[in-house]
Amino acid sequence: MNRIKAYARFLGASFAVNVQAVVEYRANFLAQVFGMMLNNAAFALFWGVLIGKVGSVGGYGFSDVMLIWALVSTSFGLAHVIFGNVRSIGQIVQKGELDLYLLQPKDVFLNVLCSRTVVSAWGDFLYGYVVLALLPGFGTEPGLHIERFVMFSLLSISGAAVFASVFAAAESLCFFLGDATGVADAITEFLLSFSLYPEKIFGEGMRWVFYTVIPSGFIAFVPLAAIKVLDWSLIPILALVAAVYAAASYGFFRLGLRRYESGNQMSSRI
């Protein structure tokens, strides 16, 4: 129990420091938010024009596309708000900065991930909620709105966990391959690209990918289906899936860490 309390305090303090970093860089934050809004607006315009002309794409209407962007944006943002270093692990290892984390009495994986926040990610995180608020609700009961917000939040949490797991695992490749930033970047591109577009435009052959190595299915497609009809039965399933991805990612990192501790992956450290 004591250990859990200690870790809770540690994560809380980490998060507090992260928030302060954002406040310190609020000008940067606002600029990033602005840029993100522009980017999303450009694509929203594209979808608006296209769907205006052809009605629906892959079975998705305009609000479906907006919802998917919202889900992915908030999940992605949340992952980088809490685990800001999730895409910097490779760089940290290459620069030898991992040693500092190894010297602290806290789990290395968690410590590395939580010791930074990405300022722009806060904008991504909030964007999803803004879109959710602006989208026309189904029915006018206020209860439904609250229900939708709660479900959206839960879906984003599991989505963030899956995002973070995949990114961390990709970055952990550097323990085995040296400079694997190219691969890690590619995986990021793939994951984002496939998550933001209608599932059905991709052939049957590709679909299995979305539920394994590039889990757009768990980040975007299934959550979309859930939130459209407020299907609560999908939540525990997604939570379980997210836990599996997290455990796998953690295990992979530990494997890499053992390799790092044996010192054989780099010769220039003497």
């Binding site: 200690a6 303090a13 420091v17 970093a21 190894l102 410590n111 010769s267």
Partner: protein
């Protein structure tokens, strides 16, 4: 945070400088802070060594880089490795409360050894015990009891004031909030960093930053402190301040201090014992006193005469000379000092005469160049 009056600070610094610990603990006008006196000395308890290293070895496999296209392609399919023996059969013991300098030229195996002591690297063979713990198996436990200061890498968050990093470190090391506050206050006063606690670290000067860094490393009252190049990049004045601080920590807290540095001044001021490592092996392991007296036989003699004289005598030739002045290096094992001086004085009217021991830096440099294993 209170603004320390400049006059008080200067006075404090002056008193710090006056306490010359290289004398081996003479009377100093600056006493240890009352709450700190020998904080860890009582904890010795089982009288075990703070660090115990036996036959420690570490080898790496490094990929051999191929030259030319043909070799590169072959290397892709079947890479070849060469083995690098970074650390070979190193043994030493460090008692609790000792202040040890760990020296060696680049590539000697220093960093590798420290990494094995702190659990960052797993040894290939041999036994390591730090504070009674196995660093690679009980790293987390050990981490609670050691502090580390790396000159080139910071534990403090770059964009935030040190007070925020302190709070986070309190959570990392599970320091109770009340204890944390007290400890923080003590360290702020001791290191005189009150004015900087609310300034983002990136805005602090290097000297201010390193003081905060050292304070941060002591937050959890570690029994052992590892320092890697703590004064690198600092200017002379700040360097002396930092050395005084470290000397005080070593003297008053009873903390075992293990310091790596290329700066001989650091070593001279702070440490009582030197372990020198080269080519992966310990070449010297003795107290500073013995080390300094190692080459007592070598004397540097400088003379200056009123008028031109013959500057050679016997088989002693000057290293440098002009018409009237010269410097000599004399090995007193071969030539009696009294005879040399008598000869020099008798040459002509002496205007100046200096006789010096070999400096510590030269001693160490010579050791670095030696191929022999043990003295």
């Amino acid at each position: 945070m209170n603004q320390a009056a400049p006059a008080d600070r200067d006075e404090r610094v002056a008193r710090n400088r006056a306490s010359d610990t290289s004398n081996g603990g003479g009377v100093s006008i600056f006493d240890c802070p009352a709450h700190v006196k020998h904080a860890h000395r009582g904890k010795r308890g089982s009288e075990m060594s703070a660090i115990s290293v036996h036959n420690l070895s570490k080898s790496f496999r490094a990929k051999v880089r191929a030259e030319g296209l043909g070799a590169s392609l072959k290397a892709l399919a079947r890479p070849s490795y060469r083995v690098i023996d970074a650390v070979k059969d190193v043994s030493f013991e460090v008692e609790a409360g000792e202040v040890v300098a760990f020296l060696g030229p680049n590539g000697a195996g220093k960093s590798t050894t420290i990494k094995m002591l702190t659990g960052i690297l797993r040894p290939s063979s041999g036994a390591v015990s730090v504070l009674g713990l196995d660093p690679s198996k009980q790293r987390s436990e050990l981490a609670r009891q050691i502090g580390a200061v790396f000159g080139q890498r910071s534990q403090l968050w770059y964009h935030l004031p040190p007070s925020d990093s302190f709070r986070l470190l309190g959570a990392v090391y599970e320091i109770e909030p009340k204890v944390l506050e007290r400890r923080k206050g003590e360290l702020i006063e001791r290191f005189d960093i009150g004015p900087y606690m609310d300034v983002p670290v990136r805005k602090l000067s290097l000297g201010e930053r390193i003081r905060c860094e050292i304070a941060a490393s002591l937050l959890h009252e570690p029994r052992m402190l590892f320092l890697d190049e703590p004064t690198i990049g600092l200017d002379l004045v700040v360097r002396r301040e930092v050395r005084a601080l470290l000397a005080e920590i070593a003297r008053c807290d009873g903390t075992t201090v293990f310091i790596t540095s290329h700066d001989v001044g650091d070593i001279e001021r702070i440490c009582k014992r030197a372990i020198i490592i080269n080519h992966g092996q310990v070449v010297v392991d003795e107290s500073m006193k013995v080390l300094r007296h190692r080459s007592l036989s070598r004397k540097y003699i400088g003379v200056k005469y009123a008028s031109s004289v013959n500057l050679e005598f016997g088989d002693i030739k000057p290293v440098k000379s002009t018409d009237t002045a010269a410097s000599y290096v004399v090995d007193t094992n071969e030539h009696r000092l009294e005879e040399v001086l008598r000869a020099l004085v008798g040459r002509g009217e002496l205007e100046d005469l200096t006789v010096e021991d070999e400096g510590l830096e030269d001693i160490i440099a010579r050791i670095y160049c030696t191929q022999r294993v043990r003295a």
